[in-house]
């Protein structure tokens, strides 16, 4: 049962991040090597900003954000226990704040590099992400640096079922994100994003402003990924900057997207499922596997190495992923095709 919960939790969180990356990379062709940054912004929204907002409302003051967060957590948890609606309000406010800040961060951080070609864009986004990560990790002013901060338990009222309830909420958000990205990617907007990925000059010749399109894609992608960061922080009841590494939140989501099939949202979900299953399996049995294979290195490195090799194999042997990208055949297109083929047959 615990494995099932673990699978559902990580599937939900990674599905949100991978779907957002698929919109940016799979559709729009933006190689967002700074994906972890958007997830971190979601965590900062909860641990750094929402904590301070709650402290203001409850008149709490402390010397530093670490002590402040502990006090906020104690008082707010008590308040939520007596008024569950408060917990839901804080939860929804945190998610809204995270998505708004995520969108703003997405725009701000892509602006310096928006005019660059894809490879330069990728490396610039990676650099910006690393700078923000390091500052957040070493400064104790934002979210307590490597000490971290506490976060109120917004669903504390659900008692023993708290984790189950929270995981269901995360899965609900993953479903909503899937529905949202499917809706916008299966539209002329999604097609224009794909066209930008294929050939920027052609899109310019068609009268489309690729800078504005890149900004839009980055804003949506970052807003969605920030929601995952907020959910993860609210679920784990703390924010520690070192949890938001580029391996966990940039490299792994890229692997999921490439494995499932870039430009195919269903494929990406399949990629997430395969990855999360493999990760849980490896985490559970990595010592046994290491012993069995008599590996000459620490077991902890096995996971990173295996996923690195998997990424290489996917790119080399199956770059289109498990599920190939499909053309965007909307209902209006199908109607016109049906009408034309009907007329020809008559």
């Amino acid at each position: 049962m615990e494995i099932l919960f673990s699978f559902a939790l990580w599937f939900g969180l990674y599905a949100i991040v991978a779907l957002s990356l698929n919109l940016e990379y799979g559709f729009a062709g933006i190689p967002n090597f700074g994906k972890a940054l958007a997830v971190l912004v979601g965590a900062i929204s909860v641990g750094g900003i929402m904590n301070r907002i709650l402290a203001y409302f409850y008149g709490i003051s402390e010397d530093n954000v670490i002590s402040l967060s502990s006090s906020v957590r104690g008082i707010v948890n008590d308040a939520i226990l007596s008024d569950p609606v408060l917990g839901i309000v804080i939860f929804l406010s945190s998610i809204t704040l995270a998505s708004l800040l995520g969108a703003v961060a997405g725009v701000i951080f892509i602006l310096p590099s928006v005019k660059l070609k894809q490879d330069y864009l990728a490396i610039t986004l990676l650099a910006i992400s690393e700078v923000v990560f390091l500052v957040t990790n070493y400064s104790t002013e934002i979210v307590g640096g490597y000490y971290g901060v506490s976060v109120p338990d917004v669903f504390t009222f659900s008692g023993n079922y708290r984790n189950t309830f929270f995981i269901l909420v995360i899965l609900l958000f993953a479903f909503l994100v899937y529905f949202f990205v499917e809706r916008i990617s299966n539209s002329p907007f999604g097609r224009v994003l794909k066209a930008m990925r294929e050939n920027e000059d052609v899109l310019k010749a068609s009268g489309k402003n690729i800078i504005v399109l890149r900004i839009k894609a980055a804003a949506i992608g970052s807003a969605i990924a920030s929601i995952a960061g907020a959910l993860f922080s609210l679920y784990s009841l703390n924010v520690i900057a070192s949890s938001f590494t580029r391996v966990e939140w940039t490299f792994y989501p890229f692997l999921m997207v490439l494995l499932g099939g870039a430009g195919n949202n269903k494929g990406v979900l399949a990629g997430v499922a395969v990855f999360v299953f493999a990760k849980i399996f490896l985490t559970m049995f990595k010592f046994e596997i290491t012993a069995l294979l008599n590996l000459p290195f620490e077991a902890i490195w096995f996971e990173y190495m295996l996923f690195g090799i998997l990424m290489f194999l996917v790119l080399y042997y199956k770059p289109e992923g498990i599920f190939k990208e499909k053309p965007i055949f909307t209902k209006p297109i199908k109607k016109v095709v049906y009408k034309i083929s009907g007329a020809k047959n008559n």
């Binding site: 539209s187 097609r191 052609v202 068609s206 402003n209 297109i333």
Partner: protein, 248 residues
């Protein structure tokens, strides 16, 4: 004589190379203007500079009386100049139909993608696209990825995409290169029919096919306009010399 596009002493350098050297051309409204010249004479550079893909180093470009010098390509396209590329630039993983739909004036608004208000435009765009594909004899390939088309078909796709836009000036860089002569004449006849609605600026080497459709000709060599007029330009000694030396 109404002028739709005019360049004034337009120059473009690539390092020490003068690709365009004080070029002055005037493209007449509702006419087909042809630019010819040997390879490397600056024809494509002129198109790229006029359409905003290259920045001019000096000189001006006026379109419909407005100064459009060095405006970005998408703004120039929105003003009503549509261009094709000399080397076809397909959106490879998109189907033939999708390649055309991208050139219709819609699809950039996120809010429309969310509220679904694009459906009427998609329907109109698809109907228009199929009419163009039928004319170009590509309609049977509508759901084929562009990367699977032949060289000639890719040229037709370029023209098809440009026809999707409501443009005032159609700039076509070698529109019938690699296209069979029968279809090439059909395409140019179509341009003739469309002359009432738009103006054309063509760059083309296949003079045997294109000449009878053109109203005015510019001849370029070494980044300069060396002659202009009607078919008699080919009797100009400078033009004869340029072509003979290019062949030699």
């Amino acid at each position: 004589m109404e002028i739709v596009l005019k360049t004034q002493n337009l120059s473009k350098f690539f390092g020490g190379l003068k690709a365009l050297d004080n070029v002055n051309v005037s493209i007449q409204k509702n006419k087909i203007t042809l630019i010819v010249g040997p390879n490397g004479s600056g024809k494509t550079t002129l198109i790229n500079t006029v359409s905003g893909f290259y920045k001019a180093d000096s000189g001006k470009v006026f379109f419909d009386g407005k100064d459009i010098t060095n405006k970005p390509p998408h703004e120039i396209s929105k003003l009503g100049i549509t261009r094709t590329f000399q080397i076809p630039q397909p959106l490879k993983k998109l189907t033939v139909l999708e390649n055309l739909l991208v050139f219709y004036n819609y699809g950039t608004e996120l809010i429309e993608a969310v509220n679904g208000k694009w459906k009427k435009k998609e329907s109109d765009a698809t109907e228009k696209a199929f009419k163009i594909l039928e004319f170009l004899k590509l309609d049977h390939l509508w759901d084929v990825q562009a990367q699977n088309l032949s060289g000639g078909q890719l040229k037709l796709l370029e023209i098809g995409r440009a026809l999707m836009r409501e443009s005032k000036l159609f700039i076509a860089d070698e529109p019938v290169a690699g296209v069979n002569p029968v279809l090439a004449h059909e395409i140019l006849s179509r341009f003739l029919k469309l002359k009432d609605e738009m103006s054309f600026l063509l760059v083309e080497h296949r003079l045997d096919i294109v000449l009878k459709y053109t109203d005015y000709i510019y001849v370029m060599a070494n980044g300069k306009i060396i002659a202009e007029g009607r078919e008699e330009v080919f009797e100009d000694p400078k033009v004869v010399e340029v072509y003979l030396s290019a062949k030699g």
